[in-house]
Amino acid sequence: MSQLNEKNSANKEHRLPSPINNLENKAFLEAAQDNQLVLKFCNSCKEPHYYPRTICPHCGSDDTTWVKSNGLGEIYSYTVMRRGVEVPFAMAYVRLQEGISMLTHLTNCDFDAIRVGQKVKVVFQETQDGQKTHLFEPAP
């Protein structure tokens, strides 16, 4: 299936839909263009959260700040979308080492060999409008 993904990235029609830019995710998307995953961290309750917000969804504090993530985690759950889409894709929740989970896609892997609990790391891929977004691939 890695061939399939290489084909996808080479073929504009099959690129991922682009993220929507808004005032709250500007820093997140800018970091992605530099192949960097950033998360929001609350200085009040000391918890990270995802997706990023201005106000902490855990405690309501407005004292939140962007922190860099090493992008390492494991697959919490996944599915391979095989039908009803132009090109099959592997969707997943990846639970980062920080303890929070992100909705994402898995790439550079055999879709039939994906397992819950598998170690993965973040990679970045261009979407339809050229902006990059995060995906995850198997990590050693």
Binding site: I20, N25, Y76, G84
Partner: protein
């Protein structure tokens, strides 16, 4: 006649399920009007009696503002357009009952209608109404759709508890056993576990037959004050308990193994002064087989993680298993109008309590019934609601 069983006095006096499953020649507003008319006729009431109106996101225009004018509701004192997806209509019953108990209205009409079948909707598509949601800015690249997000719930449940595709298939098999007796059902064929497993894999581990049908049309309910219910001809179905909530990704602390019903259902049972062991019929929201399995656990019919064992061998088949569910064939086989299955859940529960279900699936001497709803997407963000109703003796 005593209403002592009810904490808040409200009764479901009218039900109507549109007989069509494909309605290309109807407008959505027209379908709302047809189901409203049907439910009023069922109750023995008229448009002039209605002083409360409830509709959700399926209603065209500006909710009750557009629809009340279209329907000709001129005496409204109470309106509500709460939208929690397919669970909206259970939530509406809860809100209507509270409003009636508070003296805000006496005859509440709730309508649902849509045409997803005629408009080419599929559970594999990203839903356009989610586009303005704050999460969608982040999630859009990954095409979250009903099928793939529910599939991840199933995958995690299998990982944590050893649930199998065969166990999920038994849920569809039970629904199909019921649907064979429903002349309006979209799918009337009785299925086997093998039939379900042999249907195409759409999003691992969900097969096509793990999914509900996509259908047009809709349904309506009339909720009334007990003083009005006493004057009507139909058996009185009274509200006993209700609760609702929402659950999402919890700031990234995602847990796909349970629904909001884990929080809401105990409140509904407490209010009704009943336990799950006393429920012999339940309408359980069935967008997918996994939706049912997780709710069975959250509603307290079995422990968390034991839903697979609970449903094995046809335990949800009326007259055969320990809990009769979705005796109309449910969303899995009968009807999931407007991609929102909550309305038909309430309707079949009321039919059961009235003794109006098909004789082959009617639960004899039924006293209590439960209806549950999950709206939105269990794998991302959803509304959850539970209603417990009783037949007045």
């Amino acid at each position: 006649m005593s209403f002592a069983a009810t904490k808040y006095d409200a009764c479901i006096a009218g039900i109507y399920e549109h007989p069509l499953r494909v309605a290309p020649d109807h407008t959505v507003a027209q379908l709302h009007a047809e189901v409203a008319r049907g439910a009023l006729l069922d109750a023995g009431l008229t448009l002039d009696d209605v002083d409360g109106y409830f509709c959700a996101g399926d209603a065209p225009g500006m909710g009750p503002v557009s629809m009340a004018d279209y329907l000709g509701l001129k005496k409204l004192k109470y309106v509500d357009s709460t939208d929690t997806g397919g669970s909206s209509y259970l939530t509406h019953v809860n809100h209507a009952a509270r409003a009636i108990a508070a003296g805000q209205c006496r005859v509440a009409l709730i309508t649902l209608a849509g045409r997803p079948k005629s408009e080419g909707s599929s559970g594999t598509q990203v839903r356009s109404q989610w586009a303005s949601a704050p999460d969608f800015a982040f999630e859009k690249p990954y095409s979250p759709a009903p099928l793939n997000t529910y599939a991840m719930c199933a995958m995690r449940h299998m990982y944590e508890f050893g649930t199998t595709s065969e166990q999920l298939a038994w849920i569809k098999v039970a629904a199909s056993h019921h649907a064979q007796h429903n002349p309006n059902a979209a799918l009337k064929d009785v299925l086997t576990v093998e039939d379900v497993l042999n249907s195409p894999m759409i999003a691992d581990p969900l097969h096509r037959a793990d999914c509900c049908v996509v259908t047009d049309s809709g349904g309506a309910l009339i909720v009334v004050h007990p003083d009005i219910a006493k004057t009507l001809k139909k058996p009185v179905v009274t509200m006993m308990g209700a609760a609702e909530t929402t659950k999402g990704q919890m700031g990234g602390k995602v847990d796909l193994t349970y629904s909001g019903l884990a929080w809401a259902a105990p409140l509904a049972f407490k209010e009704a002064k009943l336990t799950p062991e006393q429920i012999r019929y339940a309408s359980i929201y069935d967008s997918f087989t996994i939706t049912v399995l997780i709710q069975l656990e959250d509603l307290g019919f079995c422990k968390k993680g034991e839903g697979g064992k609970f449903v094995e061998g046809g335990q949800l088949i009326s007259g055969k298993g320990k809990l009769a569910f979705n005796t109309d064939g449910g969303g899995l086989c009968n009807n999931h109008p407007a991609n929102r299955g909550g309305m038909t859940k309430v309707i079949e529960a009321v039919r059961q309590l009235r003794g109006e279900a098909h004789p082959e699936v009617q639960v004899p001497n039924l006293e209590f019934a439960l209806a549950s709803g999950i709206g939105g997407a269990l794998g991302t963000r959803h509304g959850a609601a539970a209603l417990i109703m009783g037949r007045l003796k």
